[in-house]
């Protein structure tokens, strides 16, 4: 089993599949493009299952490693491998790709092949990001993944798509340039591009601080952290449903993943030094953004802000410097992938019928769409962290971790219990409950079989993870413990003088 380059397959099957889909060309062959895309997505997911099945949870070492020289002159390698931190994101990413392909089955009628190909290629690139162990390789995947998402927003987006796409691109590009600087700086210091070598770099505090801020901005834009988050609501609002799903479910995780793979292990002392800053920004994201979400009149914007708020929990957990915090944050990331994805799909279901995202245009949807209302209720509850849904697990664990660190941090973080419920359920009330608000709502038809299928699939994930999260954390322990130990050892050392 280990002889098969599983990670390479997980990266290249979707990308090659995407190219194949592109080859089907015009919309005359749309059906063919859809079928090939679905098959590729399923194959892409299938190839990640052995990653979980054969994963050795007892070690923190990188598994399924592949190492081939790439640009030997600069010691750059095609180096892949995953540990307990990255494992779930490959599965999540490949799974969401299937959902996205199914979700775009009917609602996309223009340039179907290009649309499907963009998602497949992006899926492969994302897998590359989560498994790259070489700085340059990571950077290439990281940058390349911008392009399909940029195109998805810019081509299949709403009326204001050009503004949104540019804003998205410029924000993330600005971050990426800082990342590139940091990577080159690390190469100069260590003479290597291997991420694992950088972990042992032991840089002086001055250099650590500079690199830390480069990382903070580069990954902070992606997460997104307050105050560099405003590209996200615009991008979400303009993106087609599938774009929003991938953006929320996967793309936001890249930044958070960067913190764990780069910031914490490479510049641990600087991270320690600036913990207060990250915790502060995270809490602002949780509380301030929670209030902002309350004020939204556009459903997609509301869920977008709710995403920012939930991702605040993730960065909060990472910088609590304890195991509950980091594992809770990782769980929160996976859960957020399901829940926010499902929320955007629900909004997409409504949008396909009414072509409006304004809360005020709805009311009493339950009367005409009872099945939809039931699913939407489940996901809204998961979004507000109800126990037995996946949304609870991460929030609960991070709050427990926060209490281990500091009462006040836990107190402020726990306000999400109230705010999350307030904005999720208030929106639900206005959209779903009540008398039929207008003729358009009266004409709505309930979920078709395809919609029912993908919402049911996500509902099963949300419930399964809420009822039995054991397998999710089980594979993380070794890696997270190792990371924490590493950070602790490094911060215990007095940093070398400047």
């Amino acid at each position: 089993m280990t002889d098969i380059p599983l990670l390479s397959l997980a990266i290249w099957i979707p990308i090659l599949g995407g190219v194949l889909v592109l080859a089907t060309g015009s919309d005359a062959n749309a059906r063919m493009a859809r079928v090939v895309a679905l098959l590729t997505a399923i194959a892409g997911f299938a190839i990640t299952i052995p990653l979980y099945a054969c994963f050795d949870a007892s070690t923190a070492a990188m598994q399924f490693s592949e190492l081939r020289p790439w640009i030997e002159h600069f010691n750059i390698n095609y180096h892949l491998g995953i540990d307990g931190i990255s494992l779930w994101f490959l599965l999540l990413n490949s799974f969401i790709t299937i959902i996205v392909v199914i979700a775009g089955w009917e609602s996309i009628q223009n340039r179907v092949a290009q649309y499907m190909a963009a998602f497949l290629i992006m899926s492969g690139l994302m897998n590359g990001i989560f498994s790259a162990l070489d700085g340059v390789l990571f950077y290439v995947f990281f940058e390349a993944s911008l392009i399909p998402l940029y195109l998805i927003i810019g081509v299949w987006g709403g009326p204001n798509r050009v503004y949104a796409a540019f804003k998205f691109f410029l924000f993330t590009l600005a971050g990426s340039l800082l990342l590139l600087l940091a990577l080159i700086c690390l190469y100069n210091e260590t003479g290597s591009f291997a991420i694992l070598d950088w972990h042992q770099a032991g840089l002086p505090l001055g250099a650590q601080t500079l690199i830390f801020f480069a990382f903070l901005i580069a990954f902070g834009v992606k997460v997104p952290m307050w105050p560099i988050h405003t590209w996200l609501p615009d991008a979400h609002v303009e993106a087609p449903t599938g774009g929003s799903v991938v953006l929320a479910a996967i793309a936001l995780k890249l930044g958070a993943y960067g913190f764990l793979r780069f910031a914490l292990p490479i510049v641990p002392q600087a991270c320690h030094e600036y913990t207060w800053l990250v915790l502060g920004l995270s809490l602002i994201a949780v509380i301030y953004i929670g209030f902002v979400a309350l004020a939204q009149s556009d459903m997609k914007k509301l869920v977008a802000y709710s995403s920012v708020s939930h991702m605040g929990f993730v960065t909060l957990g990472f910088f609590l410097h304890n195991q509950l915090g980091i594992e809770g944050a990782l769980i929160q990331m996976i859960s957020h992938g399901f829940v926010s994805g499902a929320m955007f799909l629900c909004i997409g279901v409504l949008y396909d019928r009414m072509h409006s995202r304004q809360i005020a245009d709805y009311g009493g949807v339950v009367n005409t769409m009872p099945k939809f209302a039931a699913f939407f209720m489940l996901f809204a509850m998961a979004n507000s962290g109800l126990p037995a849904t996946s949304g609870f697990v991460g929030e609960f664990t991070v709050i427990l971790g926060a209490m281990q660190a500091n009462f006040l941090v836990a107190f402020l973080a726990a306000t999400t219990l109230i705010l999350g419920a307030a904005y999720s359920l208030w929106m639900y009330k206005r959209v779903v409950f009540g008398e039929v608000a207008n003729e358009n709502v009266a004409r709505l038809t309930d979920l078709n079989r395809r919609e029912f299928f993908f919402l049911a699939l996500l509902a099963a994930c949300v419930l399964a993870m809420g009822l039995y999260p054991f397998p999710f954390t089980e594979v993380m322990h070794a890696s997270v413990e190792n990371l924490l130990q590493h950070v602790q050892q490094q911060t215990a050392l007095t940093p070398p003088p400047l």
Partner: protein
């Protein structure tokens, strides 16, 4: 079968019923749905009886069913703690739930959401059983939030009514405020004990009593207890988090009986009793509990007096009685609190279901001003209501008498700070309880028949649905599925106190399930020594102050609503200011609406406009893009493309440089 299998089946049976009725309601039809749901709850009840006998025989269980998650060295588990406290709750929950299930067949017979309703109440039963059977804080929190969810779904069951969907959102959010405190309490325990298990937390109680919360310096155990109690204040509707309960009456009456009277709202009481090893070590927390409880007991009772909606009277009565239970917790009389919880579950469920029966008879008119003289038309409802009311006001030998008197006694002998205030509240509360109960009783069942008048307007926004009796139409007794539960609940409302007071309060039946510290034991021992047996206590009851206060309350109600109906209006005019305050429920709702709901919305849109749009996007994002444009423009100014301008600039430059050089050489 293994006992542990039986334990597992207790919650799973109603869950199976809920899933079947909920997901396959269309396939199995109405009868199928209620059969499967009732079967599930019946199984839970029978198994609870079996488990009760097992526990009675001296077995207790405390074990984990499965490990839910592991993280950071903490085991998150799902597990059961089966002891005497648990079995009492299991019996109460499954019995009342069973009665409500049967009753629902009649009450909801015309409703299009029949199957959905059965699914919800079975799901509720599952959640509540998980809550009471838990052996750890994780599952407790799960049950806690799950019952809140079902409550939310059921209050908003008639989702077309604006008032219902307002009430359910309000209920959920107010409960979330409580849960916020509850979660912090749990997190503190995990942070300082390193475990979610009850046993580990109780073992560490005395260590925690000597510690402080790092960073803020508050005493740890007191903080933990008060945080946990804030959760109880939300769920058990204690002032100031009580505001959701009266509005929850928007839900169908069966769930008012089950969830908002007999079971869910008592979860907070149960939880504090369960946590007695923690609360006992914090005098401050107990005083806090006591004062909150006493305030709720008295001041919510007052509000019951001015209500005209039959369900709202019972709702305020529930608030007040929950206050009594909380008072009992505050004076360390945990067993008395659980005892009152049990008796109250029976007679309050009875009163609610009887109110529901009246509402059916009145064709969904709930205004008591349109009733009167119903005893002729609804004899079973009438008698059972009378029984429930007598139990509620504490008539000697009825169940409510034993539990309420025990609480008053316990407050009387307590010396904890705040007990004087509490004693005043609970004594005055007895009069108030008797007054509003019999005001309702007389208005509904006695006096002139005021129904069947030409149609009046409804203020409650029920839409176009037809409500109330048509002119000349008479009320009628409800079908047997409605009256049978009334009778079955009336029996324990009378006898359960007499039968169980001796073991539950005085013979130490609860054993280790409830812990009372030595410093609080003194008073309780005194009461125990003075106890003359159930019969003796009943007889003695006729010469104690609470009895005379209750009698005075009944008499006052009789005078004002039967004998001289004009007087009540006169009093109302005379004390208009007080009446206005009571009518507005002490302005809690308006305050919350303006300050919290309005404040949060205003803050949200303020931040959205000022912070997001103007500051970050306006100054930050557009600002930097403007800056780039401006720099570009400035640079562009020099790129004119005219050769003579470039040449001129060059000459100027050369001239300036030359001047510098020359000056430098000269100087």
């Amino acid at each position: 079968m293994d006992m542990k299998t039986l334990h597992l089946l207790v919650p799973l049976a109603p869950l199976a019923g809920a899933v079947a009725a909920g997901l396959f309601g269309k396939q199995i039809g109405r009868a199928g749905a209620h059969c499967v749901a009732i079967f599930g709850v019946l199984a839970a009840f029978i198994l609870s009886v079996v488990i009760f006998q097992d526990v009675q025989a001296g077995n207790t269980f405390n074990y984990s069913v499965y490990t839910w998650m592991q993280a950071g060295g903490v085991n998150f588990e799902v597990g059961f703690l089966i002891d005497k406290l648990t079995v009492v709750m299991m019996l109460v929950v499954s019995f009342v739930s069973l009665m409500v299930h049967i009753y629902t067949i009649g009450y909801m017979s015309d409703d299009p959401g029949y199957q959905r309703f059965f699914s919800y109440i079975s799901l509720f039963t599952f959640s509540m059983l998980m809550l009471v059977m838990s052996n750890n804080f994780l599952q407790l929190f799960f049950g806690w939030e799950a019952v809140g969810l079902v409550s939310y779904l059921l209050i908003g069951f008639w989702y077309k009514r604006p008032t219902a969907i307002y009430a359910n959102l309000k209920a959920f959010l107010v409960n979330r405020v409580g849960d916020f405190g509850f979660l912090l309490g749990i997190a503190l325990i995990v942070a300082y004990v390193g475990s979610l298990g009850y046993t580990e937390a109780f073992d560490a109680a005395s260590t925690m009593a000597g510690m402080e919360v790092a960073g803020i310096g508050w005493p740890l155990l007191t903080t933990v207890c008060i945080c946990l109690f804030i959760g109880a204040m939300g769920k058990s509707a204690q002032v100031p988090l009580h505001v959701w309960l009266p509005d929850s009456m928007e839900g169908p009456t069966p769930i008012s009986a089950l969830i908002h009277a007999a079971t869910m709202v008592t979860a907070g009481i149960f939880m504090v009793a369960r946590m007695s090893p923690l609360f006992e070590l914090s005098e401050t927390a107990l005083s806090f509990v006591l004062v909150i409880g006493a305030t709720t007991a008295l001041f919510m009772g007052f509000l019951g007096i001015v209500q005209n909606d039959i369900k709202r009277v019972v709702a305020y009565s529930t608030l007040s009685q929950l206050g009594y239970m909380t008072v009992a917790l505050g004076v360390s009389a945990y067993s008395a609190a659980i005892f009152h919880l049990m008796t109250h579950a029976f007679f309050k469920a009875l009163l609610f279901l009887a109110a529901g029966s009246v509402i059916i008879g009145m064709h969904h008119d709930q205004d008591m001003r349109n009733m009167g003289g119903l005893r002729k038309y609804m004899p079973i409802t009438w008698i059972t209501s009378l029984v429930g009311s007598l139990a509620l006001i504490g008539t000697p030998f009825f169940s409510g008498f034993y539990s309420k008197d025990s609480i008053i006694e316990a407050v009387h002998v307590s010396s904890i700070p705040g007990s004087g205030y509490a004693l005043f509240c609970v004594l005055v509360g007895v009069f108030v309880t008797a007054f509003y109960s019999f005001r309702m009783y007389f208005l509904v069942f006695h006096g002139k028949e005021r129904f069947g008048k030409p149609h009046h307007e409804h203020e409650d926004g029920h839409g176009d649905e037809h409500h109330g009796l048509a002119s000349g139409q008479k009320p009628h007794e409800s079908p047997w599925v409605v009256t049978l539960p009334l009778v079955l609940l009336a029996i324990p409302s009378v006898v359960i106190g007499y039968c169980t007071i001796a073991p539950m309060l005085f013979d130490g039946w609860f054993g280790n399930a409830i812990f009372v510290g030595d410093n609080h034991l003194q008073g309780l021992v005194e009461i125990k020594e003075a106890f003359l047996g159930a019969a003796g206590m009943g007889l003695h009851g006729f010469i104690t102050a609470p009895f005379w206060l209750a009698l005075a309350g009944v008499a006052a109600a009789w005078v004002l609503y039967m004998h001289k109906p004009g007087w009540s209006a006169a009093i109302q005019r005379k004390f208009a200011a007080i009446h206005t305050v009571l009518e507005n429920k002490y302005y809690f709702d308006r305050f919350n609406e303006i300050v919290f709901a309005g404040g949060a919305r205003a803050l949200g849109s303020g931040l959205w406009r000022a912070g997001e749009q103007e500051l970050i996007d306006g100054v930050g994002v557009s600002g930097s893009s403007r800056l780039v444009t401006m720099v570009g423009r400035l640079a562009g100014l020099f790129q004119t493309g005219y050769l003579y301008q470039y040449a001129f600039t060059m000459i100027v430059g050369v001239f300036v440089l030359l001047t510098f050089w020359v000056l430098k050489v000269i100087l």
